[in-house]
Amino acid sequence: MLAKDLMTFTWRALTTSRLRSVLVVGAAAIGVAAVVILTALGEGARQYILGEFSSLGSELLIVLPGKTEKGGGPPGMIFETERDLTIEDTVALHRLPHIKAVSPLSVGAIDMSFGAHSRAAMLLGSDASLLETRNLKMGRGSFLPSLDLNKAKPVVVIGTTLAHDLFGNASPIGQWVRLGDRRFRVIGELAEQGTSLGQNLDEAAIVPVASAQALFNNPALFRILIKVDNRSRLHKVEASVRRVLTQLHQGIEDFTLITQDAVLSTFDQIFKVLTLSVGGIAAISLLVAGIIIMNVMLVSVSQRREEIGLLMAIGAPPALILRLFLLESLLIGVFGAIVGSLVGRFGVWVIAKIYPSFPVATPLWAYLAAASTALGAGMLFGWLPARRAAQLDPVRALTGR
């Protein structure tokens, strides 16, 4: 049979029994679209979590008071702090090489009021370097001035949510607000930041660290953030930080150092499980797609045994009949894969529109796996019943016996 005739014959078979073709192509397309959308969701979840941890910044070294017990007892238990982290520790760390910025950080809850408006805020005590260590962006005004760390000054920089709640759409810059029992002048407003390191900076009020310590009446720091000038020196700096602080703390290592790498490796197990889940979702979708395609193909080819019988009776050898049905299944698979990919892409686009902060993206392997399953299942289950019919004596295929 000539290639052109083979094509025309198959095309006519597909276009005349339109309902059947639409059903089979639709089944294949649903399967492919399911894989594309589900893996996009799974991969999105993975990317989202990965992104959360990456926002720590890979050049960041964090000092926590207390030591994580690594010997006996339940993991993650923090021993009673021997010595607090202090401003003196921070100053000492400044002298180390390869350091871009060191920020002390004290944290607490406080009531903030402006005129009749009052609300709870998260108070962060730090200094000008926080802009660098936390990658902050300013909305308007300026950030904290560079001051001696032990010097208090009644100035505050506030997050956007806080600014909106207390000042509405008016500019807060230059206004005096009350934090606890003291008055502060607002000198800046942050741009929208979102959540990172578990803190929603849009609801934060940032004051010089000495002012925060005075408000809380507590000289202990919550964290010290250290930004290294080059990522490759992170471990070297980590070692010298450990040495300097241990020295300052009378030879006792009563603090904990964490890096993004350490956090990420802790969550490595979670990522593995997430990756497996995405794979599992995809595998199940593929299986469902394959079964749908199998059923529709089995029924549609079996219905055409009479046609197979006739073709054999007028002289088509079995191999030619198989070729005809394989071509038909291939076309169905190709259309199913194309339509399914488009529908899937559209679905992903809709999800991205509804949840703009959720990173949905179908990995390439999902498209490839879905398309090859549609093609493979279509061809296999088109070929099997056609082969069974073509192996019969023509008279049996013809009469359906």
Binding site: D5, T16, M312, A313, I314, A316, P317, L398
Partner: protein
């Protein structure tokens, strides 16, 4: 007789076809020995289940004998593989069925062209030969109609055009008038007889004695055996 047998187009020797049905066996054909010469016009008759259709399918290579020998044009069909059997069906044998078996999605022209398409005949040559075949069955003006736009008689004539388009030596018709009214039926029979007069060997299976008696040679089967073989 031996001389004649050697020249025969079709030779059957002690041919049997046995179907297993449950625990028992049904002898659809039993020890059929038969010789048919080129150009003959034969009717195969007998009651339902007498084996006449099985015999026709056997002659058309649509079925395989359980035992015995079938020689077509001097060739033993026993050793042929499916590819060669398909080739013989395509090139030497034309088949006309009671239920027409046209593909509903193809026009009359395309249905008649199907065997040539399967054989890989180029479109140009195909067009000429199919047009000729449709003219021979008197359907030149219906070439581009779909089967459901044609009457039963016209559909059967398309099927006949399809059967003769490859210019076979043997034309087999299984109850060709079974689904037709008597007028279309007799038109179809006349058409088949015309083709026979131009040289093609014609074998018609029928249970209608009026049609059966028109053939020059009548073979009657009963329970898988030939009980009568008479030349008029």
């Amino acid at each position: 007789m031996t001389e004649g047998a050697r020249e025969a187009m079709i030779q059957l020797e002690k041919l049997s076809r046995i179907y297993p049905v449950g625990d028992t066996e049904v002898h659809a054909l039993e020890n059929i020995t038969l010789a048919i010469s080129a150009g003959e016009y034969i009717s195969l008759m007998g009651p339902s289940g007498s084996g006449k259709s099985t015999l026709l399918n056997m002659l058309g290579l649509l079925d395989r004998p359980t035992q015995g020998i079938y020689r077509l044009e001097g060739r033993d069909t026993q050793g042929l593989d499916e590819l060669e059997r398909a080739r013989l069906r395509r090139e030497r044998i034309g088949f006309v069925f009671q239920a027409f078996h046209l593909l509903p999605r193809l026009t009359a022209f395309e249905n008649a062209a199907l065997p040539m398409m399967l054989a890989g005949t180029p479109a140009g040559k195909r067009r000429a030969l199919v047009t000729e075949a449709l003219a021979a069955v008197g359907l030149s003006d219906r070439a581009h109609h779909l089967p459901n736009q044609l009457s039963g008689g016209q559909r059967q004539r398309v099927a006949i055009a399809r059967a003769i388009v490859m210019r076979p030596a043997l034309l087999l018709a299984d109850e060709p008038t079974g689904n037709l009214d008597s007028r279309s039926g007799s038109e179809v029979i006349q058409l088949l007889e015309t083709l026979n007069q131009s040289g093609i060997t014609l074998i018609i299976v029928t249970h209608d004695p009026d049609i059966g008696s028109r053939a020059q040679r009548r073979i009657v089967l009963h329970d898988g055996r030939i009980v009568e073989d008479r030349v008029a």
